[in-house]
């Protein structure tokens, strides 16, 4: 048997062991990225083989948060793809404004960059007081980071340009305080944010949302898991609720895609199709 085949087996065993030991199911993730991350994790823990990583994961439960973080890689930016945030600002928030109370679910919130971006949009639209944001992720460490809202100052320059490009009328600096090499987002921005653990692979509906933002999360999922997550979104959205995905996501292979009608397709913004009976209907 050649080395790559052997490694394939090791990855399968690792994924199974993780599921049995800690209940986290990665078996439906797209293999190429998953393998890459398992490999990186092994080298991060200085394990010669993935089997060695499996052994440590099994016997050292305190490693779990770091293992999960390594497998999910919470990489993000504030106002990433500014055109999307501009569209939310100009085309979606005005439609949400007709609701007396607005629920937004941000699934896969990573270190919270998009949560604070959303909160800023809502503040500037005068909608934040009547909005509740549910920010969820699978990784506990990511959530902790997200609730702190502290980021390297070197990222802030790009983010500040992104903010301007998204149609922001102020300066990003107005929303954070800068230290020596870190910035901290104004904690007032999270007054209506609930951070919670939620696994799109195994958990169910928990809220009735007017807008779900889930960008660059489903790209890591196999077709069947993508389909599961989309069903979950469909079942969580109010009638005519909005779904915003990452700019390069492809829904064509998911049978649930039928339940979403393109609203602003180039920005990957969809609306629950009218034939779908939603919870609130």
């Amino acid at each position: 048997m050649d080395a790559p085949e052997l490694e394939g087996i090791e990855v399968d065993v690792f994924v199974q062991a993780l599921q049995k030991r800690h209940g986290y199911d990665f078996s439906q993730y797209a293999p190429a990225s998953l393998k890459r991350r398992v490999r990186q994790l092994a080298s991060q823990f200085q394990c010669k083989t993935i089997s060695h990583l499996t052994e440590r994961m099994l016997h050292e439960p305190e490693l779990l948060p770091r293992v999960l973080e390594g497998l999910t890689v919470p990489a993000s930016d504030m106002f990433r793809d500014p055109a999307v945030f501009r569209t939310l600002r100009e085309n979606i928030l005005p439609l949400l404004a007709s609701y007396p109370h607005i629920n937004i679910w941000q699934a896969g919130c990573a270190h919270g960059q998009e949560v604070y971006s959303l909160a800023i949009l809502l503040e500037e639209a005068g909608l934040y007081e009547r909005t509740q944001i549910f920010a969820t992720d699978l990784s506990d460490r990511a959530l902790q980071h997200a609730s702190e809202g502290i980021y390297p100052v070197k990222d802030a320059q790009q983010w500040s340009r992104n903010y301007q490009a998204s149609g922001g009328g102020q300066s990003l600096a107005d929303y954070c305080s800068a230290g020596y090499n870190l910035i901290k987002l104004n904690q007032r921005l999270r007054r209506n944010v609930t951070f919670a653990m939620h696994n799109l692979a195994t958990d169910g509906v928990f809220c009735e949302a007017h807008l779900i933002l889930c960008r660059n999360v489903l790209i890591y999922f196999s077709n069947s898991l993508q389909d599961r997550a989309l069903s979950l979104f469909r079942d969580s959205l109010v009638r005519s609720g909005f779904l915003c995905l990452g700019l390069r996501e492809n829904l064509e292979l998911a049978s649930t895609a039928r339940d979403f009608a393109p609203f602003i397709e180039p920005m990957r913004i969809y609306r629950v199709a009218s034939h779908v009976e939603t919870l609130s209907a």
Binding site: P31, A32, S33, N216, Y220, R248
Partner: protein, 189 residues
């Protein structure tokens, strides 16, 4: 040797010009899937695609996640994402952090393509100012694939092809103008 099934090309500084020369020389009858990873600062691949379309006999398309790598099509990695190939030859995208300061990274593409196509892959490293692609090209060779590197002396930026030679070596190290004829020879029956 088995006929190659795919060609993966990586380039950086000076890459757009080099790609025009290379793709412009590929035979229209090529049945290989061609994958292109070119570092660029632009946020879309739109203009890049149009430029290549003008010279290429093969159709140019941005690689679409979950879509299959089509024979005879040049698939360009979208900007801002790593492009990977699954073992069933479907594309996957990743928003993981930059690798070698780049996203898309040539190493990420080459590593996954090497596993997907094994000895039926040709990896090509062109001009560029960093070392991305070198480790990936080594992996392609480890899997029995063929490595083609633009002669550093001939490249607008020599660092990338030089790093590839240092780390991976090459089956062919030739000037840019000779690469398309070489690929045609390796690929056409």
């Amino acid at each position: 040797m088995m006929t190659p099934a795919a060609i993966a090309i990586g380039c950086s500084a000076g890459g757009v010009d080099a790609l025009q020369v290379l793709l412009g020389g590929l035979a229209p009858g090529l049945r290989q899937a061609v994958l292109v990873c070119c570092h660029s600062r632009s946020e879309t691949t739109e203009i890049f695609r149009r430029v290549l379309e003008r010279v290429s006999a093969l159709p140019i398309a941005e690689a679409v996640e979950r879509d299959v790598a089509h024979p005879g099509v040049v698939h360009v990695a979208p900007s801002g994402y790593h492009l990977l190939v699954e073992s069933d030859l479907h594309f996957a995208l990743s928003a993981d952090p930059r690798v070698n300061y780049a996203r898309p990274s040539i190493d990420v593409l080459f590593n996954s393509a090497a596993e997907a196509w094994g000895d039926r892959l040709i990896g090509v490293v062109l001009t560029g100012a960093n070392a991305d692609g070198a480790a990936g090209l080594r992996r392609i060779r480890q899997f029995g694939g063929t490595a083609v590197v633009q002669s550093p002396a001939d490249a607008e930026a020599a660092a990338m092809p030089q790093a590839a030679l240092d780390v991976a070596g090459a089956d062919y190290c030739v000037p840019l103008l000779d690469i398309a004829p070489l690929l045609n020879r390796l690929c056409l029956p």
